[in-house]
Symmetry: C2
Subunit: 595 residues, 2 copies
């Protein structure tokens, strides 16, 4: 079974050496007192929980899975409930929550590192508190004071868990099709009726109550997405003091058998006149849900990051230990029967591919978390607007590009393991199966690509993209005359120019024909992903160059990985730019009947 070693040095490198989160956070009144010591201590403590308590539940969690034991009852795998109790007792759920509701008010830039490690240790388990945090954020922004006082403290403590109930059998990506109904009661509550599917953590045995956030239609609501309202539907109806009363009128009909994330229950929930309370305004449920969804999309990116880390760790361990064959250039380990497979260039190509996407993605996602801290707490409207724009622009990239690479990374881990990787007890094939869902849920990666090119780029004629471009330009100008940075800065600048040109081209074509945006979308998102990676790898190289004389081999490895990225992964953009330019014609020409 793979061990999980908390990547503390890597986390600290990004948090402190690359992003300088302590001084940055200290410019915000809300986080003026957050210190590096505190951050490091909390991360280290969380790392212990992840490696010692949570990681050991992962392999069996996959093997045993959740079970539907009848009558609406779902059990989680051995150890899940106990790990969750410890998690709550240590106060982990409350870390970044509002102090008003029992939270610790700590920054996202800290929370995000913990989330990464939780995902490395046990992705399926981490979805339970992850979804709870989403429900918390939604009620914090859209709930009435009464709902907030009742629900938030219990979601913050982890005593109750939360979900989001969107999908119905005929309504997935297209939420406008949903049919669940909400009929008003005299007391201001509603009766919710309908079937929801694919509800992660919809039923389980880990918490006293489950807070379902459910999309449904009011009587006479307009058709489509403008007629959807959001309701809170607790499993047990609490009184005003939070004491649990009667069982609400819905039931888990079954759980799905899935490719992976077996430790998370994926539920079909039948609502039969269940009591619900409106969250936010009538018919504006989608706004509230999108708040939750955007956070969830970044959360899915962090799932990808966590899986990349654990996949990489498993890969390196195996590549060092497995003795098989000899180096092409002659034995490196002559005293033994064979060399470790890490001598082979192609094994190294696979390891470095994992590593470059892993470390680049960590820099990217932690940076977004810091943007969110700034957005929430800055007094400066211009900074807030900048943070909002960058977060909006890059959320689909953080979700899709990172999870695509996480699946790639998990598959490379399996490939490095050879036949052993295909066997369940080795543990790496679970990462492949677990990583696969991240490319689908919270909006498929194709939907992310449409969101990026349509809503985030073409809708404001590239204004948000220019915000990111300005950061790149600044770095290029600062480093452009610096010889030792040329190998990193030149390809970054070159790609920046190409992205600008390509974006204009696609925009002009899409103006004539919307299908051109759809045809370009997925490859375009991947190009933007590389643009982001190039930016962060150039920045990381800068830090490593500054410190390479320290003698710390950490910086040697960082520079080697940066060089690998630009030599071996970045060139993918050459093909992608051509496929984007190929346009929609070859996709749309063939009649549907001829497929």
């Amino acid at each position: 079974m793979p061990q999980f070693i908390p990547p503390l040095r890597d986390i600290q490198f990004v948090q402190h050496e690359l992003l300088g989160i302590e001084p940055k956070l200290n410019t915000l009144a809300h986080h003026a007192d957050v210190s590096r010591d505190l951050i490091d201590q909390v991360v280290e403590e969380a790392g212990k929980f992840c490696s010692e308590v949570l990681a050991p539940t992962n392999l069996n969690g996959d093997h045993e899975g959740c079970a539907y034991v009848g009558e609406g009852v779902v059990t989680t795998p051995a150890g899940f409930k106990e790990a969750y109790e410890q998690f709550c007792q240590a106060g982990w759920p409350s870390l970044s929550c509002d102090v008003k509701y029992g939270g610790q008010g700590l920054p996202h830039a800290l929370q995000t590192a913990i989330q990464e490690m939780l995902n490395s240790a046990n992705l399926a388990w981490t979805m339970y508190p992850g979804l709870t945090h989403g429900a918390y954020a939604c009620l914090l922004h859209y709930g009435t004071p009464a709902l907030q006082d009742l629900y938030l403290p219990r979601l913050v403590s982890g005593e109750w868990t939360g979900t989001m109930c969107l999908t119905e059998p005929h309504s997935g990506t297209d939420l406008g099709l949903l049919r669940s109904r909400a009929e008003p009661n005299a007391d201001g509550s509603y009766r919710i009726t309908g079937t929801k599917i694919f509800i992660s953590a919809g039923e389980h045995d880990m918490a006293a109550n489950i807070v379902q956030l459910v999309l449904a239609r009011l009587p006479d609501a307009p058709e489509g997405v403008r007629g959807i309202s959001l309701f809170v539907v607790p499993k047990f109806i609490p009184d005003a003091d939070g004491a649990l009363g009667e069982r609400n009128g819905y039931q888990c009909a079954r759980i799905e058998e899935k490719m992976g994330i077996h430790g998370n229950s994926t539920c079909v929930l039948d609502f039969e006149g269940a009591s619900g309370w409106l969250v936010g305004e009538p018919n504006k449920g989608l706004n509230a849900m999108f708040l939750m969804m955007n956070a969830a999309r970044l959360g899915v990116g962090l799932q990808g990051l966590g899986l990349m880390e654990i996949s990489y760790q498993a890969s390196v361990t195996y590549a060092r230990e497995r003795l098989q064959g000899r180096a092409l250039t002659g034995p490196k380990n002559p005293e033994q029967s064979a060399d470790p497979i890490i001598v082979h260039p192609d094994i190294r190509r696979m390891l470095l591919t994992q590593r470059a996407y892993l470390e680049g993605s960590r820099a990217f996602l932690y940076w977004i978390a810091l943007l969110i801290d700034e957005e929430e707490h800055t007094d400066d409207d211009e900074i807030r607007a900048q943070c909002e724009d960058l977060t909006a622009l890059l959320t689909p990239v953080a979700k899709a590009f990172v999870t695509d690479n996480a699946f790639l990374g998990a598959n490379l881990a399996l490939q490095i393991h050879g036949g052993s990787g295909y066997i369940q007890e080795t543990g790496v094939e679970q990462y492949v199966r677990d990583a696969r869902i991240a490319m689908i849920y919270e909006g498929t990666n194709g939907i992310q690509a449409l969101d990026l090119i349509g809503r985030k780029i073409l809708m404001d004629q590239g204004a948000k993209l220019r915000r990111f471009g300005a950061l790149v330009t600044k770095l290029v100008e600062e480093e452009g005359t610096n010889d030792e940075m040329a190998e990193f800065i030149n390809p970054l600048a070159e790609l920046g120019g190409k992205v600008e040109k390509l974006t204009m081209e696609v925009g002009m074509k899409a103006f004539q024909n919307q299908d051109e945006a759809g045809a370009a979308s997925v490859d375009y998102l991947r190009i933007i992903g590389h643009f982001v990676m190039s930016y962060f790898w150039a920045r990381m190289a800068r830090v490593a160059l500054d410190k390479q004389d320290s003698g710390d081999p950490f910086y040697t490895a960082k520079l080697a990985t940066a060089r690998f990225y630009f030599a071996r992964l970045y060139p993918e953009t050459a093909g992608l730019i051509r496929t984007v330019r190929a346009g929609a014609k070859t996709l749309m020409d063939l009649e549907a009947d001829l497929f």
Copy 2:
């Protein structure tokens, strides 16, 4: 559950319109009487077996899996044994086998189409007869007449099944490390002792006897791969008439729990002085095993092809039926609540990607099968040498490029299905899990890439590659002045030039440093894969252009897919050429300890 519809029209297109297998086979005395009618009839009949008998066992086969019921006994999933009985009764195992041993002597160019359909219908099941055929081929070439007379008729009829036992816990890719021992008995037989792992079909309940072909070392054998001998070790020791006698001295210790191919038993076999008989010369076991292995590699390519077909069928069905959202250019299905998702450019990109690799791979693999028929039966030494060279060159490409794309195709099928694709009962996630092993077994795809660049290209200074290049040059010369072919021929010719240049570059660098070959290998193989695809798509476009006035929309679709290939998939080579050129330095610079 996905339906399987035998792709008869597509098979016939490749067999007859593209490759003209009937006239080609008829030039060989051995196949002078094979007619198109016979071929079509046999394929159609096999298609019925695949769709009506075999395909219905696939989903449950995955779900139920094989079971180790103790005492060395392994059971296969419900329906497997009955399907195998029907398969044998109909004579399918004997189709391409030697008439001397009860075979029907029909060509590989026919057998290969049947193998494709069997793989589409149930990959895990098809491995049982597939491995049997490998054992047949090995004994046919290397067995003594006595062994042949005893074993071949029963392998040909399918009464007994076969395996290949290579891997040991410490010896996978590196067969030189294997330790199983063979000690001579006075009667000319041997006592085989050792543990073999990952033995597909090593134990099961589908046949009366199992013929294990086992690699082991004779006493005083040289170390490494030059000291390996091959033995036939039957489960029950037959007398000279084939009547089954005592149980041989080995046992299945357990079966592996795997990511996929659950219907095929992956066995640990403990040999404890089991009786074995030498196949081929002492210490030359690897030659015999490589005969089997090369056929097996092509067989794995066909597994990829079969999975691409069934994945594509499932994808198209879902994309036509699933109503969700509206076309970007306005409703296409206004009378219903939503449009079918096939209206979306990105769904079409995914479908056409599957289709272009599927149809390109079918042309490629059927063509190789025809080369093998020619190689076996031609009287012309030059033709035989040409066929041998092309088959040797392209076997690693057929294995690795096709299975990489099969995994891609299965994943695209899952992505098109969205959340439903992640659920087991939908059936497509099984294709992803089943396809994953094809990139690993019979030599990982990384090993295929080393075989291609090292043994098949650099070892003879590109002579075999020039054989393929000559075919391309011929096509380019024939079509170069033909306007309607320019869009297909120009990129083919361009890539041919680039491959030639790149091969020389890599060769020169590898001459200085072997790691350069390893560093280039995987990306280089993918470029060669595209070179092959470009050649076959140009040839298929030629056929389709000739017939497009027939009014048959089949040719319209073929041309559209050819155009898609060159516009959307071929451009990947632009990035790959750059990464190959990047060389070994960024891979080898980092010390192993710093990973």
